[in-house]
Subunit: 262 residues, 2 copies
């Protein structure tokens, strides 16, 4: 017999991704995020892109530039989800320890990769920049990894097994993300619709909860804002089956209109 | 005998927080962050505030509105760090399951709290809003919790053991965060200084790595940007001992000047 929790979770899975769910996690690496010095912009970008292409982001973690912490997070997340995306720590300086940490997580050596050098050399020559030993650090990848092209500044990211290792600088991260996700398996797209009501959440909560019970296979969330003395609540419905989603939306609309909340 | 990894980690701890380290984690709760619909603003706010008051943020996680996932993350993080801050999921609607999940994590019942009702009643009356059963959901807290005052919209957060449960709406989160951290133990403040060079990271990487080796007790990071055809790298030095920090800064400045990089 399935417990209540399991049933709800299964209905939710069905609502959010159909039967063939592809899941992912993100691991943000960097002391500067944890100190508050840099505000992360990558989580939102990756979340939006994965939703667009039908991959369900399930978990995000942020850890500092500490090898043991990176290894532990990588090994926990790559085992649990279809894909893991990491950002940050692949530059040329001593605090860039992501490549070595990924090597340690997989138990493989990390060495300068000829294919990476071949990508970097012409780009650096064109810019009149010497390929110093420090810069060659950016060509080091774990054994067995494939490269992820960097159309912005040449030094590549890499993919090893189900782990995609991307840069932390937002523009470069974005270029690598789009390149990396071309090759990935994706699931059915999740469709969403929203209805905005000019009331506080508390006004619609009972009605909304009852509606959720009637449509357990449609994920429903409410997002309140309050500005200039006005309440506003956005009701978001999400489901991979677009007919079922429309049925839930129309029903909710009718209920709100009856209560004069629209 | 201590391994290399342990020594580096200990030096880093000393650099970042002195001997009496108070650590923290953040758990962001909400489907809307994982779908990319809402861009998180709270991680950066909390990170900055904790750094200001001498608490070292060590890890952040984001999970969806799934009780089992919240419980697992809460129990892992509250055991590992001095404090855990959660954001999100304490509103009045059915998708707000944080209070129940925290109750489940601690194995205690969650019930309407008279002190919370006493805080909410006058504020709601003043705004001419009825305290409906849905709104009373926001007065439910796990047994044994203390309330965290919400100066923005009355419905409180709560603290149970070392876990602070805060709202997700940024303005309310901020008010609760400042209220909650008044009572907490804090460590020595970490001081930081930075030097900006108009070069790419690759130019300074060797020099910077050698300097880090001379000052293992000062945490050093480099943060590159590239805009309008110009490279810019910010070198950040952090240490709780301000004399030692100044010594490292002056030394780095001298080295950069000698190489005509300043």
């Amino acid at each position: 017999m399935m417990g209540r929790q399991t049933t709800i979770k299964m209905n939710r899975e069905r609502a959010l991704s159909g039967s063939d769910i592809i899941t992912a996690a993100v691991l943000v690496i960097g002391d500067e995020i944890l100190s508050g010095r840099t505000k992360d912009q990558n989580i939102g970008t990756i979340a939006e892109h994965l939703t667009d292409i039908g991959i369900a982001l399930r978990e995000v973690r942020v850890v500092g530039d500490v090898e043991a912490d990176i290894v532990a997070a990588v090994n926990a997340l790559r085992a649990r989800y279809t894909y893991l995306f990491t950002t940050g720590g692949i530059g040329p300086t001593h605090d860039d320890i992501t490549a070595d940490s990924i090597g340690a997580a997989f138990g493989v050596p990390v060495e300068v990769d000829d294919r990476a050098v071949a990508l970097m050399k012409p780009a650096y020559e064109a810019r009149g920049i010497a390929l110093t030993p420090a810069r060659l650090r950016m060509a080091r990848v774990p054994a067995g990894a494939e490269l992820i092209v960097n159309s912005v500044s040449a030094a590549p990211g890499f993919k090893i097994d189900n782990v995609m290792v991307l840069a932390g600088v937002p523009d470069i991260m974005k270029a690598m993300l789009f390149a990396a996700t071309q090759q990935l398996r994706t699931g059915p797209r999740v469709n969403s619709v929203s209805i905005v009501v000019r009331s506080a959440e508390g006004e619609i909560a009972d009605l909304f909860a009852a509606h959720q019970k009637r449509f357990p296979d449609v994920a429903m969330g409410s997002y309140p804002t309050f500005s200039e003395g006005n309440y506003r609540t956005e009701l978001v419905l999400r489901c991979s089956d677009s007919e079922r989603l429309e049925e839930a939306r129309a029903g909710l609309s009718r209920l709100l209109a009856e209560r004069e909340l629209l």
